[in-house]
């Protein structure tokens, strides 16, 4: 179906099942270890050999020679393939780095060989016998050093032809004349997804047909990527990924495990399974680029912003995209004079690409700290300052309204529920034993992106429904909300619905990325359900227009027939998808959040402990408050990481991320995370989709790090503009211990 006008009343609005706190239908499998992840598929094909990846130990240069003699002679080894034996693989769409093939090394730990052996232990041992001779070349690894030469660059989210510069009014003159102004630079580090399941794939060939069991957020992208890199028709590739151990953007794209498993399986003539060993993932895979962001705010004494300037510099491999860290700044606050754009520097680190809330996450770390600073300069409460500068239209185009925007309600509700009125605006004023205590807040915005998504639903003789779509559940709850959608539309309990995901043989979905998955994949299923309702009505001789599907029955006029009756002569199938028109051009569609945090800072050591957190989220209709809440608390947790600990340390000599494992790259653990509260506002968005939902997976991260950072400042009076706020950055300036 084409979705071109705002949705009217529809069967989802009954909210008998959608919107209810249904626990995960895949929960019993996950808590018992019976949900099968990619590397565990002993069941799918016999005779799997083990592949072990060898990564380059230089960041830039050429491979002169690879000696595989010792490896090939080692115990259990079936075969060794090296990058020198293949042409460089053409990068799939939206990707930059060459995954395998050729002599050029473009980044550290680029895959250069795969050793295939009978056992994992043999493959691993033999991998250490592969000897690679390099001719290293100098590379560029320091964003700060390259920033002056960075080139203005279009926002990749706005398309290749988008305007590079977002200029409104006369920024320079207005900023010069602003009575109150701020001009500060903020930095965010490179970050890594660190999902718990490493990239992993099993590949098997049957003639020229390839099947890959992998861990991918985007089945269709994996399929297209394999076809392109292998140079085979897409219809010859089958990809399956029913369970994914986290992704956060790291598994949006084809990675070396899948390609090498396919090449290895071809070379040795038997199925091969490959996982990227954890210490390889961070340099081999993608990461979120560091940013250097200059923000200039000008305001009248009453607190109204007159100017907003935001320029963000990030780095990537030549040909790569910038981290779009200024997107939210174009839409979050009103101001008549604006200058906002991105710059991109070429670096020789691994590929920078999407990580959860790409752009907004680091962009809001800077913008919302700047807003906190500006509020203090103006002597206005930070919540009130944001409310004062709210906008209900696109600042670039006052005719273009937001579909639904309830940021002010988020802010007021949050302030009330968090006890914001107890915050002392004077930093360093609140003591609790050895702790100095502070509160901080920030606002968040993340676009509601719309992607086409298709599904198929079948009604069987026994009255059961089966949903098939290549949608993935990366922990988001897709299995559950799709079952709820089907159950609501067809008038059956959730237990009557089976959901089959992550198979490229199914209709192509939006996949899991950009927080579009829940809204668009359920909308695609909604369309398929409308088709099935039509088929059921026709089979039963009912009028589809007024047929009501409820309680396992179909009612029309004075007739009421069990749903299963429609399939008694054979299954009925509905297949369709949702295709979005231009409603996202006519309206700005976005989710909003107000984030609040309270921290304690150890007055002796500077250690920061988060004490309380609250998010108030406006994301349209919440399809399932259980899974939606989990996405938000998970994102809040990731935001604590960004604020206080997460940073990839770059070795400027060797051009690699030094802390390339889960020991060196610190993410929040249980001890770091207090109880978290989430409040969802109830504002269904009929302009977004027939589900009236919006994106939720990323808005939960938006603003969190800044809220924590602002709380640290409120505690200490020391403003650290260089994330993460580790204790050595403020220790020497902490208030004197009384």
């Amino acid at each position: 179906m084409d979705f071109t006008t705002p949705s009217g009343q529809n069967p989802i609005d009954r909210l008998k099942i959608v919107g209810r706190p249904v626990t995960r239908i895949d929960g019993p499998l996950k808590v018992t270890g019976t949900a099968p992840y990619a590397y565990e598929r002993h069941d799918v094909i016999p005779n799997q050999a083990y592949g072990y990846v060898v990564g380059a130990t230089i960041a830039k240069g050429r491979i002169v020679r690879i000696d595989t003699g010792a490896a090939k002679a080692a115990s259990g080894v079936i075969g060794v393939i090296t990058t020198l034996e293949y042409k460089p693989a053409a990068p799939p769409q939206r990707q930059t780095a060459n995954l395998f093939g050729g002599a050029e090394v473009a980044h550290y730990h680029q895959a250069v060989a795969l050793v295939v052996a009978k056992t994992f232990e043999e493959a691993r041992a033999a991998a250490h016998l592969v000897k690679v001779d390099y001719q290293a070349a100098p590379g560029k690894y320091d964003l700060a050093g390259e920033a002056s030469g960075a080139k203005p660059s279009a926002d990749p989210n706005e398309g290749q032809d988008a305007e590079i510069f977002d200029r409104v009014g006369d920024f320079d003159a207005a900023f010069a004349a602003a009575p109150v102004k701020l001009d500060e630079t903020y930095t965010t580090p490179c970050e890594t997804h660190a999902m718990m399941e490493p990239h992993a794939s099993i590949a098997a060939w049957n003639g020229d047909k390839l099947t890959v069991w992998t861990s991918s957020q985007m089945i269709n992208w994996a399929k297209a990527g394999l076809a392109k890199t292998l140079g085979i028709p897409a219809e010859n590739v089958r990809v399956q990924s029913p369970f994914i151990g986290g992704g956060f953007g790291g598994k949006l794209y084809l990675r070396a495990d899948a390609l090498l498993a396919a090449l290895g399986a071809k070379a040795v003539g038997q199925p091969v399974k490959v996982t990227l060993q954890r210490p390889l993932i961070i340099n081999n895979g993608t990461h979120r680029s560091a940013t250097i962001q200059r923000i200039r705010l000008g305001a009248a004494p009453d607190g109204r912003l007159t100017t907003i300037g935001h320029v963000s510099v990030s780095g990537n491999l030549p040909g790569g995209m910038p981290e779009p860290a200024v997107g939210q700044t174009k839409l979050l606050y009103a101001a008549p004079n604006r200058e906002i754009y991105l710059k991109l520097a070429a670096l020789d680190l691994g590929e920078a690409n999407d990580m959860r809330a790409p752009g907004e996450a680091p962009g809001l770390m800077a913008l919302e700290m700047a807003m906190d600073e500006m509020a203090e300069k103006l002597g206005i409460d930070p919540v009130e300052f944001r409310i004062l500068n709210d906008t209900q239209t696109d600042p670039r185009d006052p005719q273009r309204r937001f579909s639904e925007r309830h940021l002010v309600e988020c802010l007021r509700t949050g302030a009330d529920r968090f006890g914001w009125s107890r915050r002392n605006g004077t930093p360093g004023a609140i003591r609790d034993g050895k702790w100095i205590v502070g509160m901080g807040m920030a606002a968040g915005l993340r676009l509601n992106l719309l992607m086409p998504s298709a599904a198929r639903i079948r009604l069987d003789r026994d009255g059961r429904l089966t949903v098939e779509t290549d949608m993935t559940d990366i922990g988001t709850g897709a299995y559950t909300i799709l079952a709820q959608t089907a159950a609501e539309m067809m008038g059956v309990p959730v237990e009557a619905v089976t959901v089959i995901l992550g198979d490229s043989a199914s209709p192509v979905s939006a996949g899991s990325g950009g927080q579009w998955g829940a809204n668009t994949s359920t909308s695609g299923l909604y369309a398929a359900c409308l088709k099935l309702r039509g088929a059921v009505s026709a089979r039963l001789g009912l009028n589809a227009e007024d047929a009501e599907f409820a309680d396992g029955k179909v009612r029309s006029g004075n007739r009421s027939i069990p749903l299963a009756e429609a399939a008694k002569d054979g299954p009925l199938t509905g297949e369709d998808g949702i295709r979005f028109g231009d409603l996202d051009k006519r309206y700005v569609q976005a989710s909003f959040a107000a984030q609040f945090a309270e921290v304690g800072v150890d007055s002796f050591t500077g250690e920061v402990r988060v004490r309380r957190m609250l998010a108030v989220v406006d994301a349209g209709r919440v399809l399932n408050p259980v899974t939606a809440r989990s996405q938000v608390i998970g994102a809040m947790t990731m935001g604590v990481g960004a604020a206080l600990m997460e940073a990839l340390a770059i070795d400027m000599r060797h051009g690699c991320f030094v802390n390339h494992d889960l020991g060196g790259y610190e993410v929040p653990v249980h001890a770091d995370i207090p109880h978290q509260d989430v409040i969802f506002l109830d504002h269904p968005d009929a302009i977004s989709s027939p589900m009236k939902a919006k994106g939720i997976g990323e808005i939960g991260l938006c603003g969190v790090a800044a809220a924590v950072a602002n709380a640290v400042y409120n505690a200490t009076g020391v403003r650290v503009r260089d994330y993460p706020i580790t204790l050595e950055k403020h220790l020497a300036k902490l208030p004197r211990i009384a």
Binding site: L29, T34, S75, P198, S630, L662, G663, H670
Partner: protein, 212 residues
């Protein structure tokens, strides 16, 4: 791993720690090829190990380099135990050995002759959930599910540690009866990373089971 639970004395711990530092100080020998020459194409000598896994005796003949984790996942095909890092950093591979939780990736299978190993599959099944598993579902103590078996094994073990009075880094009064305060729970569970960030829900699940 036949040591009875929690009998490691402070003295033994100090000795062990000193031994570790010696290992750290030993020069790294580098990869085998640095020594030159091609190793003989000899088959790896295999070793047999017998363990009791989830109540059943299991014998496997293994490359002695095989970790307990890979033995479970690749040889016994008990894939509930997860490999997140293979380095003892993440806790996804947590299993119970003779009732004590360990990271199965940091332990070779041949060290476990005669040991009783419990994996998540031995804790409960989809049709017969352990109360901890049911509480994780009820409180949505997971998202992607990959750290979940390790979290559940750890959580079950934590409650036993509290019962036995085993202290932790944050225990304030070693003489007082042990109880599962929120800081105790969070400290003890901190070896199990959840990147989806379900910590707050996991804490709620464990607290509910502890109070039952």
């Amino acid at each position: 791993m036949n040591t009875p639970d929690w009998e490691l004395s402070r003295r033994e711990f100090v000795v062990g720690a000193a031994a570790s530092s010696v290992i750290v100080a030993t020069p790294f020998l580098g990869p085998a090829h640095a020594a030159g020459g091609t190793p003989p194409h000899a088959a790896v000598p295999m070793m047999k190990v017998t363990m009791e896994v989830n109540g059943s005796p299991r014998s496997v003949t293994l490359d002695p380099r095989t970790s307990l984790l890979d033995t479970l996942r690749e040889h016994l095909r008990l894939t509930g135990t997860k490999k997140g890092c293979d380095h003892g950093h993440c806790g996804a591979c947590t299993v119970l050995v003779n009732g004590t939780r360990i990271n199965a990736c940091l332990s070779l299978a041949v060290m476990h002759e005669g040991d009783k190993v419990t994996t998540v599959e031995g804790i409960g099944t989809p049709d017969a959930l352990h109360p901890m598993q049911a509480a994780f579902i009820k409180h949505d103590g997971f998202q992607c599910g990959y750290c979940t078996p390790g979290q559940i094994c750890s959580a079950v073990a934590v409650l036993k540690e509290i019962e036995k009075g085993v202290p932790s880094h944050v225990t304030e009064d070693l003489a007082a009866p042990m109880r599962l305060s929120n800081p105790e729970l969070r400290e003890r569970m901190s070896g199990n990373i959840c990147r989806c960030g379900a910590y707050s829900n996991i804490a709620a699940a464990i607290t509910e089971v502890a109070g039952a």
